[in-house]
């Protein structure tokens, strides 16, 4: 059984004194996998270094199985780690790389190699133990690195963007391998990543931005209900519609969107519309005077069409209707994901509507500064 707790972790570099981590508190339960999701420079790798003992926190405690290990050196914390680069020992064979952990903990060469052989099999590299590490492909090297970390048989595994240097295909196979390892060994895992797909491997994800945890939850829950504009921006794919909440409705230049009775937010609020929760239809002239995204729709003009990964995304611009005289609060453009088969052209006038199958989500505040519970309608 292994449980990892981070209580009020703070850290700043001596050079400039700027805080890289501030009051980070997280718990990873036995056998659980928690992903730290954050952009570059958010402090996620620093958090992993502080947890591992390779860096000292300026505040807070690290506990493993309720034992305070903050003041213990890295090798005595009951943790192991795997990094973005495999860091294989080139003077050792593949088998002896994996045997490194057991050897440093006092196992004989024969015992250590027996353990190493088991873990090489677990990562599907049986038969390659006698090779030099330089003879392996990038994916095989990361498999060896994973086997080597697991062979230490420590309860907690720290992963620092372990697969981000691999191409998409290899990354996919490593994700499958990680699922197999979890099923076989149930290690407690803390993984940092900037990749939403990779974070999806975890039971829960914590969003870390500028050294602070902004939200913790399952990845689908984060994606459906980001707690702030900051989180939405990190997850990507959201259009931000600034406006205000009055009388249970979100009001903006795009019209009004009904919010349910339980809405508690008042005043400034940002409506978060995902690209795929809007659809473009052929214009209906008789609705021209009823321009409301939350109602029957809004006339827009396509300004450009591009790709976001495998999907087509159209950028559309609102066409102000003079008689409505709404204050334009920006943005006047949003991105809409096109369903397969739909083709639109720049300059085309279309009707923009919300897809009723998707829940609507809004967060207090006009920008990322404010953190609060979101307001949701379904």
């Amino acid at each position: 059984m292994s449980r990892l707790q981070l209580d009020g972790i703070g850290h700043h570099f001596d050079d400039d004194g700027a805080a890289t981590l501030a009051d980070v508190g997280l718990t990873v339960d036995d056998g659980e996998m928690l992903a730290i999701l954050g952009p570059s420079g958010s402090g996620k790798s620093t958090l992993l270094r502080v947890t591992s003992g390779l860096a000292d926190p300026t505040a807070g405690r690290v506990r493993v199985n309720d034992v305070d290990v903050t003041d213990l050196p890295a090798e005595q914390r009951g943790l192991t780690a795997m990094f973005q680069q495999p860091h294989l020992f080139t003077h050792l064979s593949v088998l002896d790389n994996v045997a490194f952990g057991p050897r440093t903990r006092g196992a004989s060469r024969r015992e250590a190699r027996e353990v190493a052989g088991r873990y090489l099999s677990l990562v599907h590299l049986e038969g390659l133990g006698g090779r030099r590490t330089r003879q392996l492909s990038g994916g095989q090297q990361q498999r060896v690195a994973l086997a080597r970390a697991l062979a230490t048989e420590q309860g907690v595994l720290l992963l620092d963007e372990p697969f981000s240097a691999l191409d998409a295909h290899l990354r996919g196979s490593m994700h499958t391998l990680l699922r197999e390892v979890r099923a076989a060994l149930s290690p407690t895992i803390l993984m940092v990543t900037h990749d939403l797909d990779e974070a999806g491997l975890a039971d829960r994800a914590a969003v870390l931005v500028e050294g602070r945890v902004h939200q913790v939850g399952t990845v689908p829950a984060l994606y459906r209900h980001p707690a702030s504009v900051v989180v939405a921006r990190l997850l990507g794919g959201f259009n931000e519609i600034p406006g205000s909440v009055e009388g249970g409705r979100h009001l903006s230049a795009w019209g009004s969107v009904d919010l349910p009775e339980e809405v508690v937010a008042c005043g400034s609020a940002t409506l978060l519309l995902r690209r795929e929760q809007m659809r473009l239809e052929l214009p209906r002239e008789h609705l021209a005077s009823d321009q409301d995204i939350g109602g029957r729709g809004l006339t827009v003009r396509v300004t450009s069409v591009g790709s976001a990964g495998p999907r087509q995304v159209a950028v559309v611009e609102m066409r102000p209707v003079p008689e409505l005289q709404r204050p334009v609060q920006a943005p006047l453009r949003v991105e809409v994901e096109l369903p397969l088969g739909q083709e639109v052209s720049p300059g085309q006038d279309l009707y923009l509507r919300l897809d009723p199958r998707h829940p609507i989500w809004a967060v207090p505040g006009p920008d990322g500064e404010q953190m609060a519970e979101g307001v949701r309608t379904s």
């Binding site: 050196p73 080139t90 490194f100 440093t104 230490t152």
Partner: protein, 219 residues
Amino acid sequence: MLPQQWGVMGWSSALESGVTVAAARSLVLGLLVAAVATPLGAMAGRALGWREVRRPQATAAILLAPVVLPPFAVSMGLDVVILRVGVPDLMAVLLVLSVFALPYTTYTMRAAYRGIDEGLEEQARMLGASPRQARRRATLPAVRAGLLVSAGLAFLVGWSDYVVTLLVGGGQLVTVPILLGSTAAGTGREATVAVLSLVTVAPPMLVLLVARAWKGVRS
């Protein structure tokens, strides 16, 4: 240019002049300089290669100084300091020669450390190794070729030195180069000088061959 007659007169003469003892002294001196300058150079090379010092360029310039400055000036300067402290002659020669060898070992090891993965030690720590174990089992094996070359260069500094051994050693320490110098100063002993010259160049040739063989094995 070519010898008019062949014989072992030169060898006999060299043996009579004490080349065996001189070679033994040179050998011990070279090994001691290698033993002192190689680990120091490894530490300095690591600090410079991995930028673990605050002002790496200034530090590198100071370490390079013994090679850049005239050896006579450096030797005399250090000799004065060493005489005041009262260090014995052999120890004094060893210390000064180590200072001269340090730039070679440092720069070799700086290149060696720059050529390896800086994350190896931290990775070893995360696999259960103490800082000392991490150095011994992860980093040092990765720079062993650099260590061998450094040791070879430091040995050659000790083996082939003339100026320091003469000035700091006060003429008491007769090594092969000293013997060669004194023999060559006279006339009519060309055969002896030739033998002593051969003995002097033997270790550098050996080091070169070992380095080539090592490179061949590595590749």
